[in-house]
Amino acid sequence: MMSGNGEKTVRFAGFGGQGIVKSGEIFGAAAIRDGKRALQNQAYGSSARGGLCTSDVTVSDGQIYDIEPDRFDILMILSQDSCDAFLHDVKPGGILIVEEDLVQLPEDFQGTVHAIPATRIATQDLGRRIVTNMVVLGFLGAISGLVHRKSLEQTIVENVPPGTDILNLEAFAEGWKRGAG
């Protein structure tokens, strides 16, 4: 539907604390920077705590009507709970990305999956778990080709605390590398 506008829906799903919301925010803002339209939305249980958390971004060349899309062109699954809840919301032919250390896909699952140990990369390679979402963003950016790398990088710099931009860009680059590789 509305696909005449090249509309794409992306969901980041995981638990609170994984930087899910921020990822969507950066992705959407980067799309804007590319001259597209974008709408980002999120859902979580309790405000501050763990538990299921999603961040959805719709990117389009035309007007965006759906505020809460329920099927996704790209689905990033970063926790087992979100896998159980959303695995089947990826559109046929869509892209599925999973955090390989945290998600066990059902045995009978059919379809292409892009897997990345984002948490491990952030924690062990980069020494800061907090940049997990940047690894994911880079991975997604490379795989999806939806948004220009430059736009994503510029948006990241604007959105992270001063002084942490280098670390975040490193994480992003690492993710991109894995996605492109």
């Binding site: 638990f15 994984q18 087992q80 945290l102 066990q104 948490t119 491990r120 924690t123």
Partner: protein, 77 residues
């Protein structure tokens, strides 16, 4: 000297390291392995050092720890 078994329930532990802070004899360390829950859980690595002070048991925010007197020495759950 009294002996204690120290159990950590890996289903509950979320790797907060509170037990590590409480434990004077440094019984615990965090596992380097990411659990399915996405955390690095605590493991009682040197249970034999445990003095049975129960501070870890009381302080653990997930009620994940049980410290029992006696029994086998390898108290890791």
């Amino acid at each position: 000297m009294r002996h204690f078994q120290v159990h950590v329930d890996p289903e509950l532990c979320d790797g907060c390291a509170v037990c590590i802070f409480f434990c004077k004899p440094a019984v615990f360390r965090l596992s380097p392995e990411l659990s399915r829950r996405g955390v690095f859980p605590a493991v009682p690595e040197e249970p034999e050092a445990c003095t049975g002070c129960t501070l870890c048991e009381l302080g653990c925010p997930q009620l994940a720890i049980a410290v029992n007197e006696g029994g086998s020495e390898g108290g890791a759950s």
